[in-house]
């Protein structure tokens, strides 16, 4: 048979082949996904139910403050951290860094067991061998005289410092150094001398006027969570709220929250404070600070009239101690002590921090070869000491160096042995919260890696091995030792563990006297150069946690990068645009980073944030440890991101023994290169859109109370009770009434026996309270399994640009809730201190009349009868029409399948995926995602009340962002039930909806910010 004889089409045989293939495909599809195994417990643990969370009270160890936390665990794994409402510091709130402790716990680059460096290579070793080697070294050192030995510990309060000193003493070694690079030594010294405590509680709510002299107390300066809580309470007073004045060359987050900015030249703050205290001449102060005399005189008059007022000082210049003392003296004379400065509930965690000068002295001894053995725990000196200090060379002269670090940081790479510590969420401990309250730390789960050990237990094991010390350590566990410190023993400790706190105090170690200020700051260059600890990465500790890398800097909105802040005037003078690479050069060194024009900095000043620029310190080989590659340079998320400004910082200390980070001089040059700007910011201006609205103090009461939603007033916040059809939402049909019964209202029948239409989930966000700190953003990532997308390898496979933050520069970030920051006033080229910043948390508004819903061709987004705008991932086919339709731009597309394990863009490498919330779907590629109003928490609450056969109580639960918020700006609840707080707040006189004119009937109600202009300065309401 020839082809010609066949009339048409496919031969019968071909047809059968094709049909067969088709059938095979269908059959293959019919085999459902593999179901896997069901692995039961060997013995059921008490007090846990599989699938139901268990909560542990503990203490956060991410900064020195030591807030109380509640750790949610599910089936033996910690999955979420929130603040402990009973704790005197955190009072239920928690910052972004505290929440990110989980990513330290589950960090894929954690050491999985002890290692030793042999012949220039790292090799695993057993604990028995490791301990005998250390024990033998300790014996040798003691025989030769161990007095020169150094133990450097990341500062922590509680019982451990004394325990450690006792252990060191047993081996003839000197007490350890308790180092904290972020701690403001000058402020601590000034507080101690003036108030008697290292860090008092600043009760902002009691003040009539708040003046901050360079202190970023909302973000990183001191205990930011309690400070934010108190500050927000002050601002929530609305009309009566204290005015806030910020003095400093760069507007930090606190500066942006201030009503007035006084841009003083770095180093001139002392003259201003002296003038305010009546000790100086206004002319001299004005001349030194570059601020007009009128502004300073007006501030002085205001301060003299305000009783009580509060002055906080946190400069990092060479004269920082003098500024701190002068400000404290001013507080004393203003009568602030006892009213706005409270010592009874001081932050006890800041007691006992070693001076930086002590550390420098230890480094000097290392360099001279008189340190026989060194231990480092939690501190990354090779990164945080200025490069000019040549730490690596000094450290190399120590014959035996042991690190207790969990992470492959720069310092550990230089050590000879690593004995990986447990994470604070896996180990026992305690902390001093206030002078009269101590906070306990307990393991919330078994160690992630079985071959890691608590340093305290390692020290006990070493003590037990040593004949001279064995008698002092009868128990093998630090926990037993800790129980001994409770007056009531085991039962007292159990009581304390339930609440996370206990009455009592822990004496802090004495701090050495002040040494001499050392060296001089760089004077080379035309610009004042400021470095400051990153609000999210701190002194670099946070850089290995992708949530923190992904969290945009609250001020500049840049993530996964380093940048140089300069005023647009400076940039214009230099001929650089946003993203052009500039070089900052001091007498100590030079760094290159992208230029970011920023309105809130003096034209003669440039600034850089610390925290980035981790790199392998010794170029050691990437070490294969079991299944994981150990990435030297602080792990895969930190390595090679940005630059380290410490490379250009001179090693100078102030009179309190702290490092000087301000008032250096540097030169600034254009390089001609350009790089991406990984920013989440679109425009910094509102362009008349009225997104972030404000009202001038004094006008609030005068405002006519407008209806928030056009149309039917009585249902202003209940549009979810009506259908999502536009005509209906606009009131044509109105809310279903009794006469509608019997009609087919489907899901929207309020009389439906399923009770579905009873609720309208809604949210209020008080912009007077919101400080823009962005803790809500990280809380959302943690709760909702949101992938981070900024790592260098997470871009597309084809046409890949392997740069950290590239996806963010293309607008692919997945922050379901984001913090928008807008400027009001000034213009974008000329310098003026008179501009205002407004922060707006922006998330899905759960519109009653949502533009995204009618455009979806597959009904993947719809309106639930309880008011939620729902995204159904398994229906979504990724057309992205909804994102185009959304006026708020709060829908995010999963471009590369960040939740799929077999992709290189996978955002949750083992064991990071242990943190995933089992109640939330992990989204795959090609799916639109957005805020769900934490629907899983709503369902959980509904399940609970159904199980307990009761009605839901008002404010019974809340969503993740509201729970974290350290300024208590976000309130969530049922607006249809007047007993819920949200229903009352939604009726506030300041309430408004963003883009109300679009008739979207949003469920998110914003309360206008209240601004307090100085009599002299113009307002931008």
């Amino acid at each position: 048979m020839s082809n010609d004889t066949k009339a048409s089409g496919v031969k019968r045989r071909d047809f059968l082949k094709i049909l067969g293939a088709g059938t095979a495909a269908v059959s293959a599809a019919a085999c459902s996904e593999p179901t896997g195994k069901l692995i039961p417990y060997l013995v059921s643990p008490d007090q846990t139910v599989p699938g139901v969370s268990t909560y542990y009270a503990s203490t956060c160890r991410e900064c020195a403050a030591g807030c109380g936390i509640i750790v949610e665990t599910r089936d033996g794994r910690a999955i979420k951290i929130e603040g402990n409402p009973e704790h005197p510091l955190s009072r239920g709130a928690l910052c972004a860094r505290g929440q990110s402790a989980l990513q330290g716990l589950y960090n894929p680059d954690r050491f999985q067991g002890p290692m030793i460096k042999q012949a220039g290579e790292w090799k695993p070793i057993t604990w028995d061998d490791a301990l005998s080697i250390v024990g033998q070294k300790l014996g040798e050192v003691r025989a030769k005289g161990a007095a020169g030995a150094v133990f450097i510990n990341q500062h922590e309060s509680g019982s451990f410092p004394a325990f450690l000193d006792a252990w060191l003493g047993g081996f003839g070694m000197r007490p350890h150094l308790s180092v904290d690079f972020e701690a403001d030594q000058a402020a601590i010294e000034a507080h101690r001398r003036s108030y008697g405590v290292a860090w008092p509680r600043f009760d902002f709510a009691q003040a009539k006027l708040i003046v901050s002299i360079g202190a970023d107390f909302l973000d990183g300066w001191g205990a930011s969570v309690p400070q934010q809580l108190d500050f927000a309470d002050a601002r929530a007073k609305g009309e009566e709220a204290p005015r806030v004045v910020y003095v400093g060359a760069r507007r930090s987050l606190t500066g942006l929250n201030a009503d007035q900015w006084i841009p003083a030249i770095p180093g001139s703050e002392l003259a201003i404070v002296n003038f305010l205290a009546g000790k100086g001449d206004v002319g001299a102060a004005a001349q030194q600070s570059g601020v007009t005399a009128n502004v300073l005189s007006a501030l002085k008059a205001e301060l003299d009239a305000a009783r009580p007022a509060l002055v906080v000082a946190g400069t990092r210049g060479a004269n920082a101690l003098d500024v701190g003392l002068a400000a404290a003296q001013l507080n004393v004379s203003l009568g602030a002590v006892g009213t706005t400065v409270k010592t009874a509930d001081a932050v006890a965690g800041f007691e006992g921090i070693s001076r930086h000068t002590e550390l420098l002295e230890a480094v000097t001894r290392m360099a001279s070869g008189s340190v026989p053995i060194a231990f480092v725990r939690g501190v990354n000196l090779a990164y945080t000491l200025p490069a000019s200090q040549k730490f690596a060379d000094a450290f190399a002269r120590v014959p035996f160096k042991v690190s207790f670090s969990s992470y492959p940081d720069e310092t550990t790479e230089l050590c000879d042995m690593v004995l990986p510590d447990l994470h604070s969420l896996e180990s026992w401990g305690d902390a001093a919260a206030t002078p009269s309250v101590m906070s306990v730390q307990q393991p919330t789960m078994d160690p992630v890696f079985a071959h890691t050990r608590a340093t305290a237990d390692v020290l006990i094991a070493l003590g037990q091995k040593d004949a001279a010390n064995a008698a002092r350590y009868p128990n093998a566990e630090y926990r037993s030792w800790l129980i001994g410190r409770f007056a009531g023993g085991q039962s007292a400790m159990s009581t304390a563990l339930a609440k996370g706190i206990s009455a009592g105090s822990i004496a802090a170690r004495a701090v050495a006297g002040v040494g001499a200020a050392s060296a001089s700051v760089s004077q080379q260059g035309d610009y004042h150069f400021i470095v400051y600890p990153s609000p999210v990465l701190g002194d670099g500790r946070g850089a290995n946690k992708p949530w923190l890398q992904e969290l945009p800097d609250p001020v500049t909105k840049i993530a996964w990068s380093s940048w140089v802040e300069m005023h647009p005037e400076t940039a214009a003078k230099l001929g650089v645009d946003r993203g052009d690479i500039v070089e900052v050069k001091t007498s100590a060194g030079a760094v290159r980073a992208i230029a970011i024009p920023y309105l809130g900095i003096r034209p003669d000043t440039i600034a850089m944030a610390l925290g980035q620029g981790h790199k392998s310190a010794a170029g050691m080989k990437v070490f294969e440890f079991k299944d994981t590659e150990v990435q030297w340079g602080y792990g895969r998320y930190a390595r090679g991101v940005g630059v380290n400004p410490f490379d250009a910082v001179t090693t100078t200390t102030d009179a309190a023994g702290g490092f000087v980070w301000e008032g250096m001089k540097a030169s600034l040059t254009k390089t001609g290169d350009h790089d991406i700007v990984p920013s989440t910011e679109g425009s910094a201006r509102q362009h008349g859109r009225g997104i972030a609205q404000a009202i001038v103090a004094g006008q609030v009461e005068k405002e006519e109370h407008e209806e928030h939603i056009p149309g039917d007033a009585s249902h202003a916040f209940l549009p979810g009770l009506r259908s999502p059809v536009a005509a209906d939402a606009q009131g044509e049909l109105g809310a279903p009434t009794a006469k509608d019964h019997g009609k087919d209202l489907g899901l929207y029948d309020p009389a439906d026996i399923r009770g579905m239409a009873k609720r309208r989930w809604a949210m209020t966000i008080d912009l007077a309270r919101c400080t823009g700190c962005s803790a809500c953003v990280t809380a959302c990532y943690a709760e909702n399994n949101i992938p981070t997308v900024g790592a260098a390898w997470q871009n597309a496979t084809v046409y890949a640009v392997q740069k950290p933050g590239f996806n963010m520069s293309r607008g692919r970030e997945m922050n379901w809730i984001r913090l928008e920051r807008y400027y009001e006033g000034a213009n974008d080229s000329e310098f003026t201190p008179d501009f205002e910043a407004r922060f707006v948390p922006m998330l899905c508004q759960h519109c009653g009349n949502a533009p995204c819903e009618p455009v979806c061709p597959v009904y993947a987004t719809y309106h639930a009868p309880d008011g939620l705008n729902v995204q159904v991932y398994n229906r979504c086919v990724g057309t992205r029409y909804c994102s185009n339709a959304c006026p708020y731009k709060v829908r995010y597309f999963n471009w590369f399948g960040y939740g799929e394990e077999d992709r290189k863009q996978y955002a949750f490498p083992e064991p990071m995926n242990w943190q995933l919330n089992p109640d939330v779907t992990v989204r795959g590629k090609g799916v639109m995602e957005k805020c769900t109003f934490c629907v899983q928490r709503i369902r959980e609450a509904e399940n609970r009340v159904a199980l307990e056969h009761r009605e839901m109580e008002p404010d019974e639960f809340t969503v993740a962002c509201a729970a974290a918020c350290p300024s208590r700006a976000i309130v969530f609840g049922d607006a249809a039930d007047p007993r819920w707080t949200v229903a009352q707040l939604a009726a506030d006189k300041r309430a408004y909806h963003v883009f109300e004119e679009l008739n979207t009937y949003t469920a998110v109600v914003y309360l206008k910010k209240v601004i307090h202009p100085s009599p002299a300065a113009p307002a931008h309401a």
């Binding site: 048409s8 599809a29 039961p40 060997l42 139910v49 719809y862 639930a864």
Partner: protein
């Protein structure tokens, strides 16, 4: 005829195949209904959960699946729970086959290894099925799982497809039907007070327990 024309029917056939796939999905054929793999230990549900009259012990399902009434997860019995009765020297089985299986269990316990049961019922990851709501609403286990107390080897009784879920959420769950499904005659059941006659027709739909059926009830 040219070779080219020979292949013109391919698109049509592909469309046919696609249609077949869609029909198959719609019909529920893509479910693993009926799937009943061999287990590492041939656990006899009839012996444990079967009615006493049938020679079983009459154990309540939640004796072993202890979280079904208080958690989204039903809970699998810990090896310790099994060993509570089947420790060495205790209940050792009556038949040689049973004795062999119990020995396997004891071996798992002795080596501190959990039993790697083959999972049978699994809804996709984007579905949230809280057992607690269903059990506390009075839905009998057998309504969805079939009469496990009579299954020598447990298999997937229901399709677990969305249509199967939704028909109950929309039309409502009839407690009488649930009891029938569980293998009880409604008249003899103590759980249905008010029922006087075994011949009563099923209760009218007004008394059926309905539930939300919009997507976000389960998909989030």
């Amino acid at each position: 005829m040219t070779k080219r024309r020979k292949w013109t029917a391919i698109p049509g056939l592909l469309a046919l195949a696609a249609l077949a796939v869609m029909l198959s999905a719609y019909s529920g054929a893509s479910s693993s209904q009926g799937h009943g793999p061999a287990q590492p230990i041939a656990f006899p549900h009839p012996k444990h959960a079967g009615a006493v009259a049938d020679g079983g012990l009459g154990l309540n399902c939640v004796y072993c699946h202890y979280a079904a009434n208080k958690s989204p997860d039903p809970g699998m019995p810990a090896v310790g729970t099994c060993i509570g009765c089947h420790a060495l020297g205790a209940v050792a089985g009556t038949t040689p086959g049973g004795q062999a299986e119990i020995k396997k269990l004891q071996a798992f316990a002795a080596s501190n290894k959990p039993v790697p049961w083959e999972r049978i019922h699994k809804v996709p990851e984007y579905v949230h099925f809280p057992h607690v709501r269903h059990v506390n609403a009075g839905v009998t286990c057998q309504t969805c799982h079939g009469q496990v107390q009579k299954m020598d080897r447990v298999y997937q009784y229901a399709s677990l497809n969305m249509g199967w879920c939704v028909q109950c959420h929309v039309n409502g769950y009839d407690p009488q039907e649930g009891l029938k499904a569980a293998g009880y005659a409604p008249a003899t059941s103590p759980a249905t007070p008010g029922t006087t006659s075994a011949n009563t027709t099923p209760t009218p739909s007004a008394e059926k327990k309905k539930a939300r059926y919009d997507c976000a009830n389960c998909h989030y």
